[in-house]
Symmetry: C2
Subunit: 259 residues, 2 copies
Amino acid sequence: MGQDVDVTLKHTTVVLSTDGRDEQNETLAVEVPYKVALNDKNIGASMVLETGLEAFGVGFLFGQGYIQTAEQVKEVLVCNQGRIAVYADVDEADEPKEVIITSGCGGTGKISREMLEGAFDPLQEATITMDEVSEFIRSVLHGSDLGAETHCVHGCGLWAHGKMQAFYEDVGRHNAVDKIIGAILLGRVPTDGAVYTTGRLTSDMVLKCARMGIPIVMSRTSPSSLGLAIARRAGVTLVGYARPGRLNVFNAPERIKQG
Amino acid sequence: MGQDVDVTLKHTTVVLSTDGRDEQNETLAVEVPYKVALNDKNIGASMVLETGLEAFGVGFLFGQGYIQTAEQVKEVLVCNQGRIAVYADVDEADEPKEVIITSGCGGTGKISREMLEGAFDPLQEATITMDEVSEFIRSVLHGSDLGAETHCVHGCGLWAHGKMQAFYEDVGRHNAVDKIIGAILLGRVPTDGAVYTTGRLTSDMVLKCARMGIPIVMSRTSPSSLGLAIARRAGVTLVGYARPGRLNVFNAPERIKQG
């Protein structure tokens, strides 16, 4: 969950306005290309924020359909020269077939038609109270200063058993969710809880949470039509425009309790 | 530039708040998977908003490195069952090699290391005045009601020769830029102008504009470190946090004139 390296860069910009010309210091999020390998075979690469890279590598491979369960994951090695090596018990025949590159604000960006149209395993069971949701949202939004400083990262948290269990950020909203999913697959955090993301809930975002069995998926902003369709098929509680004390529930409100 | 089909969906949501339970009508952006084929060979697929699909198909193939110039593009056929067929004079040997999946809020999401590290051809030349920028930003932000209704689309415009020449929206910020680039490659709009996007300027966003020769790239929000690095290498004027009357210029301010 901590930041492994300095993920920001300072830059002096020229501010042009009707008052003339000025200078201002800006902080940029540092985006770095990382390859992800599965059992020493390169699978893909993504631009990432250099935090939570073990979790990212595993979540990335799950998102792309190469890894299905926590039991498969054996070891993860991160080389700071830009490579994450995941070792897992997988069958090559299970590799995803035709892929769809996704619309998402985020990186991993590939889902297969199979994943999109297949049936879902039952979700984990969980409920959450309105008070817990409020605390959860505040915890994610104040999880670090990076979002306010750079305006270039998305945050994502996992709440379960009465507390925030994980918090990650990334330049891509998908990558941040992938880090959460990777943390689940690494056995670091439980699955029976709620995810809250600052990013939009397009199809791919909801799909990977549903495949992971996460029962409650919330966003600061909106779902797309297909994000909603997947939530309905999988039975996921889908919340948009989530604010402390006010939730707009698009599907399965019964998991959210007053109090 | 017009909307070909209805790209929204109505949904009644349950609003949970400290005051109890209410209902509310929401409008969702409809995201649809489209395959893109080049000379009848499927290259990839992306979730898109069903507008500007001819331009999207061409821009997608440019973004992925399959098409380089307007002269190569011969014909585009859009099948509303989810396929865009682009016919172009391309050499298979020019296909992109190792690809990096990008961090971007948007769909097309693949760039090659070659594109990232290669040299850039000279950009088109253009300048823009502060007054033009203000009018341009307002034109994009008020280009349609879809953004305000759905909170799930990004807008992107192209300004050249004193007016907004093109405006597109999509569920992915990349797709919206791809539609602009496709319109350029289809000869519908000029290259010697400015792009303004509501999305973040990560590496891939700046890269495709620089490769296209667009000299000025602006965003409502921030660039990433690598977005800035590419702008500096290519000489692109890079503007973040662009507001009418106030621009934060990260690179090459000389193309923006007072007045």
